[in-house]
Symmetry: C2
Amino acid sequence: MSSIKLTILGCHSATPRVNAFPTAQYLEINNSHFLIDCGEGTQRQMRKYKVGFTKIDHIFISHLHGDHFYGLVGLLSTYGILSRDKELHIYGPKGIKDVTLLQLKISQSHAKYKMIFHELSSKKSELIFEDDKVSVSTIPLHHRVYTNGYLFVEKEKPRKLNMLNISGYPEIGRADYLNIKAGKDVVLSSGEIVQNSELTTAPAKPLSFAFCSDTSYKPDIIPIIKNVDLLYHEATFLEDREDLAIKTKHTTAKQAAKIAKDSVVKQLVIGHYSGRYKDLSLFKKEAQEIFENTELAEPGKVFSV
Amino acid sequence: MSSIKLTILGCHSATPRVNAFPTAQYLEINNSHFLIDCGEGTQRQMRKYKVGFTKIDHIFISHLHGDHFYGLVGLLSTYGILSRDKELHIYGPKGIKDVTLLQLKISQSHAKYKMIFHELSSKKSELIFEDDKVSVSTIPLHHRVYTNGYLFVEKEKPRKLNMLNISGYPEIGRADYLNIKAGKDVVLSSGEIVQNSELTTAPAKPLSFAFCSDTSYKPDIIPIIKNVDLLYHEATFLEDREDLAIKTKHTTAKQAAKIAKDSVVKQLVIGHYSGRYKDLSLFKKEAQEIFENTELAEPGKVFSV
């Protein structure tokens, strides 16, 4: 069943606060399971929100600021303690492998499972993962360090059989279904051609999710994330401190909403709030003036498509 | 004022569980403030239990297993964000400097403050810190990796002036007080010697705290921790799984209590419970059969002397 379920594990910026959790998200898309970013304490948040540790085979790290990856090594150690034996793929900026392996080595965390690091350095969007259910591409962002967002797209589904119409042709049997689902016409023994469009209906549109954190306002990502069903975009500041957003290479709520609007996405989720703001509803208010369907990320909140 | 206040920030072993926090303790002794071990999420626990980040100038790491130090780099980064500028001393096994600095470098955490690493490799107890209030020595432990406990001892106080008796000697004035507090006798102009014991009373006995985690049962630490006022000793297993304690180089509750009894300590606190036990009261029960004044470590619990 085609679907997206995004669980926010942490959504605050690095500034230390009580009950602020750094960035981490758990994405279920088309029955695949991904972890995106892994700030300190992510594994605790995963337990709290009942995320199945063993379902995750792919972890995507946007950049190597501590609030996006300091929880990775703890999670990898825990997989060792849990006696994981299946491969784990880790995608992130060049350097992630050395620093992670050094930590595991010094703490003598012996893992039975194989860790496969996919180090990224391209400044262009590239396909980095693909199977029969989902593809994942990078979204090059612009931050103080090399940073990627990630675009998750369901694979195109086969067309659906129109059984009512098919039953009108006794000659068409089960053996033909695979070809019909693949979009082929059927040639009857009489020589008559039955158009595929008569025998099938269009499949559900593949769903897509884009994760964009951390970044300056960067409209050139719009072609990459165009029409996604769900967009997470950082919004560290409000418009009143656009100066700080520019200086620290972050985005304001208004700018995130502008990206969502110009990309014609269905829904926007914002997060990575700076600790200077006590009233987070101001982020929603500011964004909704530009893009109505905006929601605030909160730890434990689930967004479904 | 001579005193000990120990706040448990985390006290569980590494096995992943909901609401289990790895080892970290905050020690206030004789108005000095120390952090001992720093598992993942320690900075969050510090916030939760209102530990003043800026008071800490010395952090002691027992060993480089993840559940005792994976939270260090996050805390050091946070000190950077908080614009700390005073020196921070970090004590721990050889290797702690490289792994920490690599993480900070890769995450481009620019700190204004100076980090001074004191890497330990001796297998004998050594004095590693001393000022006019407290001394700290290592307690060599026996675990799967190089591990030290730490012994914190208040400095000997000066003797207290007995003002009633002093007033009987009009010749003795303020200028003499420092010498009298230091234990010296006073020679009057008549040549008469007034014994110090007549002019002073004994100061409060210096208090002491010993932190012992993680370790096999190791009775040869007893001479080092003899008579301490407060002993934290790990107790990962109950007696029923002494086989596992031996295999993993940990201690049972009964063994921890035996160490406390044989060391003639005033109070024992145990922790680092294995995830296999649901009912932690069994740890207390088992220990109390050997050493009555035993308490269980719990996140947020404070032990005062």
